[in-house]
């Protein structure tokens, strides 16, 4: 036997799928992970549903405040009518669900519980697991959201004027939003590799995101300078843009341009994850293991 034990493809062929099946392997992997996520979600469907319903409190508060103002101003605030605001915050509830990614605080837990070590022993870059697991989870969530949307529609009577292209772009954009936010939070969460006191950093980020993503108010209600700031940050592509894509009656150029911006931020995110991960793991493997 030459070349040492490192090569030995003939030894492996009886139990590993050959390299030629690489794409099939990825598809199979993601499908399997989706399945596990869905099975997990179904286990906790009741608790999850209560949780989803509870999460409606936040947009309802925003909606009530801004509709009150709209009414006082004679029907519209910043060009948005009560009906449009209702539409915005109802779509908001789904986009918020799509925005759920692996938490930045979760890394600390992963490191302390030894979960990270278990992940590092597997021949798979761990972000795939996070992406696939929560994506699979969301497949169930979207279905569970539909009745909630119906009830909210009946209560708040939104003004809906949706074209086919809006739906199509929205369907892609919510997943784009999910990926952008996943990358962002992965990079941020890796701060836990160096310190257990990254809380303030996270807090700052949450606040910036809350104000500049479209979560707190539609971005069009912000002062000009804040809107320009939001344009150069990733946040609005994870929240305001998908909502506006569905109900904002954006021109086709803006719709497609938004998807392109999401893609750009995903690419930036992937590069960022790669770089930070390499440094973080070197650090982790020097001290923790």
């Amino acid at each position: 036997m030459t070349g040492g034990l490192a090569g030995e493809p003939e030894l492996d062929r009886d139990r590993f799928v050959p390299r030629a099946g690489l794409i099939r392997g990825w598809v199979d992997l993601y499908l399997t992970m989706f399945r596990v996520a869905i099975l997990n979600n179904i286990q906790y469907r009741v608790a999850n549903y209560f949780y989803m319903i509870g999460m409606i409190a936040e947009p309802v508060i925003y909606l009530v405040v801004w509709s009150t103002i709209a009414r006082q101003q004679g029907g519209a605030v910043g060009g948005l009518t009560s009906g449009q605001l209702a539409a915005y915050y109802i779509v908001w509830t789904l986009v918020r669900q799509m925005n759920i990614v692996f938490t930045v605080y979760g890394w600390d837990e992963r490191i302390r519980q030894g979960e990270l070590s278990a992940m590092l022993l597997q021949p798979l870059f761990p972000i795939h697991w996070d992406i696939a697991f929560l994506a699979g989870w969301k497949l169930v969530t979207i279905v569970m959201w539909l009745p909630i949307a119906v009830v909210l529609t009946l209560v708040f009577s939104p003004a809906l004027n949706i074209r086919v292209i809006d739906v199509a772009v929205f369907a892609v954009a919510i997943w784009g939003a999910y990926l952008v936010r996943t990358m962002l939070y992965w990079i941020l969460g890796m701060a836990s590799f160096w310190t257990t006191r990254a809380g303030p950093l996270f807090q700052l980020m949450f606040t910036a995101e809350l104000l500049l993503s479209g979560r707190l108010v539609p971005l069009s209600l912000l002062p000009d300078w804040a809107q320009r700031l939001a344009d150069v940050l990733p946040f609005k592509w994870t929240f305001g843009y998908p909502i506006d894509a569905l109900i904002g009656q954006l021109p086709a150029g803006e719709l497609i341009g938004g998807l392109a911006m999401q893609l750009l931020w995903i690419v930036v995110g992937v590069i960022g994850v790669r770089i930070v991960w390499r440094i973080a793991i070197r650090h982790y493997s020097a001290v923790n293991g």
Binding site: V46, A47, E58, V60, V65, Q72, P200
Partner: protein, 267 residues
């Protein structure tokens, strides 16, 4: 002697506060973190107010300084919840779940009092202080006469509100621990508590009722704020007092009921 009985919870809380303070003083970085977080929260709140009043001059009859009062009370009450109520309830939930409550039950003091004051997050006092400052600033902005009577009225409404929120949490903790996860309850409450940033009167009727009797945000924040802005009617105050007393009586019964079930299960 009855007087001492009533004061007992406060004495106990004071003692636990001292222990907590001594422990925490070793970690002064936590203090800095808390100041930072309170500042961010305050900044966010002010930004939202500015945003609202860039579009309008009043919200449902409340002027900007009046809404600042509401915000101040919201932060202050939030500080009390974060300092005493929430940490104790989270710990109680964990104890019930792990079956480690026996330790408390063997103590000579009243168990309900003990589980309610044993864990005090002293740095949350920063939030309380922030809230107090916001209230003072806002009241000054309001101008007009502000007398001792109004301050006492506010104090009374605030205490009643705090007791109501405490009862709400304890009822939830004793009753709901097997349904949902702890962190989810905390997060949900924090979500709903945000509604208190605004006077509950701006919400539609069904929501107002829910925020008054289901999750008593109205009594915790809006009513004390009404006291400070000269809106509090005797009827509302009587309702707040009556509700608080009734809820405390129910909570007492519910706690005993839960305890019997707990002892039965762990024996």
């Amino acid at each position: 002697m009855a007087g001492r009985e009533v004061l007992r919870p406060i004495v106990l809380a004071g003692r636990f506060f001292r222990i907590g303070a001594l422990n925490e003083l070793q970690y002064r970085a936590n203090f800095a973190i808390q100041v930072f977080q309170s500042a961010i929260a305050l900044g966010t709140g002010l930004a939202v107010l500015a945003l609202v009043f860039s579009q309008t001059t009043e919200l449902n009859g409340w002027s900007e300084p009046e809404l600042l009062v509401v915000m101040g009370v919201h932060i202050l009450m939030g500080g009390v919840i974060g300092m005493v109520i929430q940490p104790n309830m989270v710990r109680l939930m964990e104890d019930i779940r792990r079956g480690s409550l026996d330790f408390i039950l063997t103590k000579p003091d009243d168990a309900q009092v003990l589980v309610s004051v044993r864990d005090i997050q002293i740095w949350q006092a920063v939030d309380g202080l922030t809230g107090a400052i916001v209230i003072v600033v806002a009241v000054a902005q309001l101008g007009g006469a502000f007398g001792l009577g109004q301050a006492l009225l506010f104090g009374l409404a605030f205490v009643l509100g705090g007791l109501t929120i405490y009862c709400f949490w304890l009822i939830l903790t004793v009753g709901a621990f097997w349904v949902v996860r702890i962190d989810q309850i905390v997060e949900l409450f924090e979500g709903v508590y945000q509604s208190g940033r605004w006077p509950v009167t701006i919400y539609p009727g069904w929501l107002q009722v829910s925020l008054t009797f289901l999750v008593p945000i109205a009594f915790a924040v809006t009513v004390p704020a009404q006291a400070l802005t000269g809106r509090l009617t005797p009827g509302t105050l009587a309702l707040a007092a009556g509700f608080a007393i009734a809820l405390m009586a129910f909570t007492r019964w519910w706690w005993r009921f839960g305890l019997r079930r707990y002892s039965g299960a762990s024996a």
